[in-house]
């Protein structure tokens, strides 16, 4: 693995383009480059993973995965073309292998070793799973054993689920489970599922209602819908205790900009604004977190201690992409 330490611009900015309407902004981190919209925050809040297109100006090729350590500002290139995923709050990551859009394999990596550029960070391949748009949860942790659930899309409306155990004491994947891959939610019609951190629930797009929804995963890997959100959202993420979900939604156009959108303008219109929401699954109360006019706040997720983290793509192209950390 080739690791590259890149200088990075980290700031605690004082002027915020996004408008926080709920919660206390703890910090905002600006970075160089425009990550692909999928980014992941580690459960500790100490690391961010994301992908960058190799050349965002050209319609060709895959991206490159990156791992940012917030305390030091060091940015590393890590394996895989896209979709680098932390295994919740654990010391592991699952990274796609391959560079094209065929349904690709996944590998388990040791996060600490990745950070030290240790070439032995590769623990093993996750066998018999191919797919795109992976999502990962931790089913249980017992001493050195971490039971991990990985889901991935493998064809239209076809999702696979793989449960396996990694034993860090013996550095082995559980051979009893590695050969078994199940179809996920075969009784449902859904797309773009995201697992809860405990691997027991998923949020996604219900293709029958065309709305986002939440399902419970049964022991036989069928799924029961437990909540329809009655709206279509960006990808959902669960809190670590599975009592909340967070998502972004594109808002209504800013009417003051109506004329501008109809005329030639070389920069993105302010009409397109996305905002972050949190839904409490116990009370069913939805809280709007941002109310933007010039920024798209997107792909929110939680840390293990309940901070809300999301990415901001500012309409002003001169502004750097930022990550906001909030306490609700």
């Amino acid at each position: 693995m080739r690791a590259l330490l890149i200088s990075i611009f980290l700031t605690a900015t004082t002027a915020h383009a996004q408008t926080i309407v709920k919660g206390k902004l703890l910090k905002e981190v600006a970075i160089e480059g425009k990550p692909s919209f999928f980014f992941k925050i580690h459960g500790s809040g100490r690391f961010i993973s994301y992908s960058l297109a190799n050349d965002p100006n050209r319609p060709a090729g895959a991206g490159t995965n990156h791992l940012l350590e917030l305390a030091t500002g060091s940015l590393m290139t890590i394996p895989g073309p896209w979709d680098p995923v932390f295994v919740a709050n654990s010391n592991y990551m699952i990274l796609p292998r391959g560079t094209d859009a065929s349904y690709i394999n996944y590998e388990l990596r040791d996060l600490n070793k990745l950070l030290r550029n240790n070439p032995t960070s590769h623990i093993g391949d996750v066998p018999n799973v191919t797919g795109l748009y992976q999502s990962v949860g931790v089913l249980s942790t017992q001493g050195p054993k971490t039971k991990i659930r990985l889901i991935a899309e493998d064809g239209y409306r076809n999702h696979k689920v793989k449960d396996f155990t990694y034993n860090s004491a013996t550095n082995s994947l559980n051979v009893d489970q590695v050969g078994v891959t199940h179809k996920l939610c075969s009784n449902q019609d859904l797309k773009l599922p995201m697992l809860s951190k405990d691997g027991q629930f998923l949020g996604g797009l219900d293709l029958k209602t065309k709305k986002s929804a939440i399902w419970k995963i049964n022991p036989d890997f069928t799924c029961d819908k437990v909540l329809d959100l009655s709206l279509k959202t960006g990808k959902l993420n669960f809190s670590y205790d599975s009592t909340k979900v967070t998502y972004h939604v594109y808002g209504e156009p800013v009417e003051a900009k109506e004329d501008a959108a109809e005329n030639y303008i070389p920069i993105p219109s302010d009409s397109f604004v996305s905002d972050v929401y949190v839904l409490d699954l116990r009370t069913k109360v939805t809280t709007r977190v941002t109310s933007n006019r010039e920024t798209n706040s997107m792909y929110p997720d939680f840390t293990a201690d309940g901070q809300l983290v999301f990415i901001n793509h500012h309409h002003d192209d001169a502004r750097k992409v930022t990550f906001s950390f909030l306490r609700l």
Partner: protein, 137 residues
Amino acid sequence: MKALLALLILMSMSAFAKEPFTDKDLHQALSKNESGIIYLWSPFMPLSVIGREEIIEVAQNLNLQLILVVDPLATQTETPDPLMMSRDLMKFGVLDHYPAIALYSEGKLVKDVIIHGYEQKQTLSELINSYLNGKNL
């Protein structure tokens, strides 16, 4: 010489400056009463970039019109694709994930159909064909 170089660079940049794809453009396309595909991609989403090349082939094979539009946050790409600034498409939900495919036929968008996420060419051809033929998948 420097001035000439600067001019050439400016000309090159303006060639790829992003024009918007607005509701007016959408309704103009729909008014032709043809069948077609609207493909929204983002340079920040690698799979949507790969899919951009593939959808051209899919549209050709299916003999469908193709409108390529790009993430409104992408101010500069080396493509002529306009920025997605159609509010009707936004309300339709295309921005929720990249790539996103909307279909149109007989002067209107195919109701409730958005194909989100990368799909391989064969699957995509079958899906588009089915939706345009009114099959409720």
